[in-house]
């Protein structure tokens, strides 16, 4: 659905993105991850045909962004980063304009605007002036305009920024529902969001792609050890010593807690499940085991590792 090849954009003498190459399959939800200034927004602006690339090319929905920009724009819904809207119009007036600009026929326009309003939960803001709406509502108006005309491809730049937790959940489930039906590229700062809604992640840093994979494989590939968290009711000194003696344990760290009740983070060999062994140690020592669970390396850790350390090449 989206094929990007050697995409480069240079502003003056700074290179915003440097020969990006990736593809997005039909119906896939792909997350674009990277620190500020990594080139996420630039990539999205180029893909949405707001500005042409300096070199390289991309095909979106089968059309070339350089030579068939109008055809591309007919097939995308775009939500820019700061959700620019006409603040002096009402929600309905604005969405009607977008529907007309997107070339929807006069007959279906009203109905489509109504659908978009419902889907983005804007019913009680219909007649209100956009300039007077809260950030959360504006974000939803932005999403509604992107969805108008049922574009097969959505390009969303930070779609959940500035929303309250309830709205974030709503928007995420909206995006998740699109899986299989629409092709979505979204950028985000919030890392758990990626593992929640995206099937694949593209991590980008300083204009280059650092890694492309599913959130799960990325986690697995980068994990150097397995961690298990235990909450134990027992004498802290003895517990630490005993745990460290267990075979396969690399390191034990006491986390939090007070008195006898403490949490311990046990680092073990990669690919070795020591949970049973650890439980046995605790039980045979006569201590109380209140919690035991494996700790996955969070996407934050992966992200930091990727953008600060060496690029990942198939380990």
């Amino acid at each position: 659905m989206i094929e990007v090849e050697g995409l480069t954009k240079v502003y003056g003498n700074t290179t915003a993105i440097d020969s990006l190459t990736f593809t997005v399959q039909q119906g896939e939800v792909v997350g674009f991850l990277g620190p500020n200034g990594a080139g996420k927004t630039t990539t999205m602006r180029v893909l949405s045909c707001y500005m042409p690339p300096t070199s390289g090319t991309a095909r979106v929905g089968g059309y070339d962004i350089r030579t068939q920009a109008l055809d591309v724009r007919r097939r995308i819904g775009y939500l820019p980063e700061h959700v620019p809207l006409y603040t002096d119009l009402t929600v309905t007036q604005y969405l009607s304009f977008v529907a007309e600009a997107k070339g929807l026929s006069r007959l279906t326009r009203r109905q489509r605007v109504g659908e978009a309003i419902e889907r983005c939960l804007l019913q009680d803001a219909r007649g209100r002036i956009i300039g007077k709406l809260s950030k959360g509502y504006r974000q939803r108006v932005g999403l509604a305009q992107a969805l108008l005309g049922d574009p097969p491809i959505l390009i969303l730049d930070e779609p959940t920024i500035g929303l309250d937790p309830k709205q974030i959940i709503e928007i995420r489930s909206l995006i998740r529902d699109m899986q299989g039906k629409r092709t979505v590229i979204l950028s985000t700062h919030i890392l758990p969001e990626v593992s929640m809604v995206c099937q694949r992640v593209i991590i980008i840093n300083e204009g280059r792609i650092v890694a492309v994979d599913t959130p799960e494989t990325l986690t697995r590939r980068l994990q150097r050890s397995t961690q298990v968290l235990l909450q134990i009711d027992g004498p802290p000194d003895q517990v630490s010593v005993r745990l460290r003696e267990a075979p396969g344990v690399l390191q034990v760290a006491m986390k939090d807690g007070a008195g006898a009740l403490r949490r311990y983070l046990v680092e073990t060999d990669k690919d070795r499940d020591l949970r049973q062994e650890l439980a046995r140690v605790v039980c045979t020592s006569g201590w109380g085991l209140l919690e035991l669970r494996p700790v996955d390396m969070s996407l934050e850790d992966i992200f930091i590792r990727l953008v600060t350390e060496e690029p990942v090449t198939g380990e």
Binding site: T42, Y50, R74, P80, P84, D88, K102
Partner: protein, 255 residues
């Protein structure tokens, strides 16, 4: 299709914000005062002419009221037209809405034309309010219709040239004040360039006279339709619109 969408949106924005109302108020007050003072002056002359028949020669409503009124309206345009156009692109750029607008399936030309037509339509509406003054004149005098029609046509064309110039400056900056100031300055320059015609000699003088934007209005106000005047205004308008289109294209590249 796309042009119509942009046109309707811009018209809505004009009336959703105080812009249209402010401009209508300004225009009606100023043009009303112009009309009153021209009328008062003519009636003063008429009283004197009643005692001195020599003065009465060449005293008629068309030359005495309609023509000077149209030229005066031209002066008002100089100030008002930049107010109509300064926000059209500058505000979109500042607010970032241009980014969205340019990713809709619209050609740059459609966007430009929609905005230009909206500004022109609002201006035509503004101009039409002065028809009331003409109607008042028919109350107690016989008006020649033809010079009034050509006068309005001239003003419309002059206004379109100013509006396209204003659009060009609006597309060049994201600051509305800068866009407005430059549009006003450039319009004024096109206006006063004719003054140099009397000082410059020969071909230069003729060139300045041809370039002067107000020079071409006088013949319209006199009831004379000349191809060169129409061509001047339409040429200016299309040149500025074309330049705006190119400026939009350049902005796309710069991002």
């Amino acid at each position: 299709m796309g042009t119509l969408a942009v046109f309707k949106k811009e018209m809505r924005s004009y009336f959703a914000s105080p812009i249209a109302y402010a401009i209508f108020t300004l225009f009606l007050v100023i043009s009303g005062y112009f009309f009153y003072s021209i009328l008062a002056y003519l009636s003063l002359i008429s009283v004197q002419a009643a005692m001195n028949p020599g003065l009465a020669r060449g005293l008629n409503v068309t030359d005495g009221i309609v023509r000077p009124f149209f030229i005066d309206l031209g002066v008002v345009l100089l100030f008002l037209m930049p107010l109509l156009t300064m926000r059209l692109f500058a505000e979109e750029r500042k607010q970032g809405t241009l980014e969205l607008l340019l990713t809709y399936p619209l050609r740059d030309g459609e966007i430009l034309l929609g905005k230009f037509m909206a500004a022109t339509a609002l201006y035509a509406l503004l101009l039409s309010t002065t028809a009331l003054y003409m109607l008042l004149l028919t109350w107690w005098s016989e008006l020649e219709l033809y010079p009034i029609l050509t006068g309005y046509l001239g003003l419309l064309l002059l206004g379109m040239a100013f509006l396209s110039l204003g659009l060009l400056f609006s597309s060049l900056t994201e600051n509305q004040i800068v866009a407005g100031a430059f549009a006003f300055g450039a319009s004024l320059l096109l206006w006063i360039i004719g003054w140099g015609a009397t000082l410059a000699e020969g071909d230069w003088g003729a060139l300045f006279r041809h370039l002067s934007i107000v020079e071409h209005l006088t013949s319209f106000a006199r009831g004379v339709l000349e191809t060169k005047d129409i061509a001047y205004y339409l040429g200016m308008t299309s040149f500025f619109l074309f330049a705006t289109l190119k400026s939009l294209e350049v902005r796309r590249w710069k991002g």
